[in-house]
Symmetry: C2
Subunit: 286 residues, 2 copies
């Protein structure tokens, strides 16, 4: 084991404490506590677990839990009406639609109804455009969490070679934009990439968000590189990422474990986004 | 000279002829000719030349020229009111605000008033977001023109290594998105890139849009690569690009000249976007 372990749980705790302090200052300045409206449709057990964590941690940070639960057979119009109601409600700082929604619903159409200013998941098209054009925006939580980890561990990005594996709208694409904004030379690799290991070996900073267990092994990592593993997969012997942790940690300079790496950062950045949204809506700077 | 010369003038002519045919079919199907509203503010000679070309070629393609000229000292409110008027006018299929606008105006705020459906330059934040999220959108004309050249010359993109030099909102960033959507492995390089020549040498397809005359020389090009030069600079002995044409054309497999490469494609794609916008607005498919 040579790589430094990037402790996402510790950084996430720090972010949550910072957010709690920010909520206190917002209230002390005459504002109202940020309100997070999580929307859960149906009873998917994994989604329930995620939503419960988000609600619990938002309350722990001093926010208002404005959770809404709709039955799994709800129709599109009713779900849309709920989003519109929350969009218009001044007590709601942020709206989070837990994905995936049941198959009969058009989740894109529901997301499109969330005003960009309350889009604390950073998933609306307008926020994606703001990010692409280098404007202020609420950023998708997972890539924003990765950036925070890199910052916390003082990983140098300007002029560095960064490789992002995976090009999802949720993670890979915004991740590349954020690394580019930090002045890295950014390569976007994916399932069609000809020699993935060769491309990955260029990276000073390698972010793997492909959703394929163990995709990246030690042969794909430059000695000393920083490796960020966004994957999470449940195996018979526990949770695993997209990176072969054991072998890669003997080559990399720093690496995120799974669990305890990127995972806890996602909710922490959701809380940070919700505080930011509340400050903007209430016109109270920190 | 070994490289094949990519004849942008010929491809642009073909695109314009295709657009003219599409306009005929739109009208034959009961539609009205697309209307292009160019907005020129002030009397910058270069901008006048560009706008005149756009108007002339749109008329040649059978479109309506709905040009508007505002004095250089116009105030923001008046300019905004004109954009709003054109946005509401059903005869206007596309709105093009010629950039740069005079320094006292906020051009971003003017662009933001253009409805995404009439944004034939593909510059609004919503269209940038649609592109980033892989949705249907009017695309920025220059990168769309590059894609058309690559298609016309049957340059294979899936799995290819593409390098884009320059990260502007107008060209570099949307270029990278379009190449990624075509399944290339895409690297975004820029002024902070450590060893630009080394990064460029990886490219099967190299798109240079840095705005620096002669930035890319033969040492930065892999033998056989396709080199697209978006730069255009006026020197004492004529126009030059970002690429050293002479030396690079002895290494590359194919290359765009300056002038006569990417340049003519930009207006051709503007016309194509205007036709697309008119079809969508009039509800008449081709």
């Amino acid at each position: 084991m040579t790589a430094r372990i990037i402790d996402g749980s510790a950084v996430a705790k720090k972010v949550r404490e910072d957010v709690a302090g920010g909520v206190d200052r917002l209230v002390a300045a005459g504002g109202t506590p940020p309100g997070l409206a999580t929307i859960l449709i149906g009873d998917d057990p994994a989604s329930e677990v995620y939503v419960r964590s988000k609600r619990r941690l938002s309350v722990a940070a001093g926010m208002q839990d404005l959770h809404r639960h709709l039955p799994g057979d709800v129709d599109q119009e009713t779900a849309a009406a709920l989003v519109d109601e929350l969009a218009a409600d001044p007590a709601v700082s942020g709206i989070l639609l837990q994905l995936p929604t049941p198959g009969h619903l058009d989740s894109d159409a529901l997301l499109a109804r969330i005003p960009a200013e309350k889009d604390v998941d950073g998933l609306t098209t307008l926020n994606a455009g703001r990010l692409a054009q280098g404007r202020a925006a609420l950023r998708p939580c997972t890539p924003a969490g990765v950036m925070r980890l890199l910052e916390e561990y003082e990983v140098s990005l300007s002029g560095a070679e960064a490789v992002v594996v995976g090009r999802s709208v949720l993670v890979g694409k915004p991740m590349a934009q954020l690394l580019l904004a930090a002045h890295a030379t950014v390569t976007m690799a994916h399932s069609r990439t000809r020699d993935l290991a060769e491309v990955c070996r260029r990276a000073d900073v390698l972010v793997v968000a492909a959703g394929i267990p163990g995709l990246v092994g030690a042969d794909a990592v430059k000695p000393g590189a920083t490796v960020i593993d966004v994957g999470i997969h449940r195996g018979e012997d526990g949770l695993h990422g997209d990176v072969e942790f054991g072998p890669v940690s003997e080559v990399a300079g720093a690496i995120t474990p799974v669990p305890g790496g990127v995972g806890p950062m996602t909710i922490a950045m959701l809380l940070a986004n919700t505080l930011t949204a509340a400050r903007v809506q209430q016109g109270i700077a920190d």
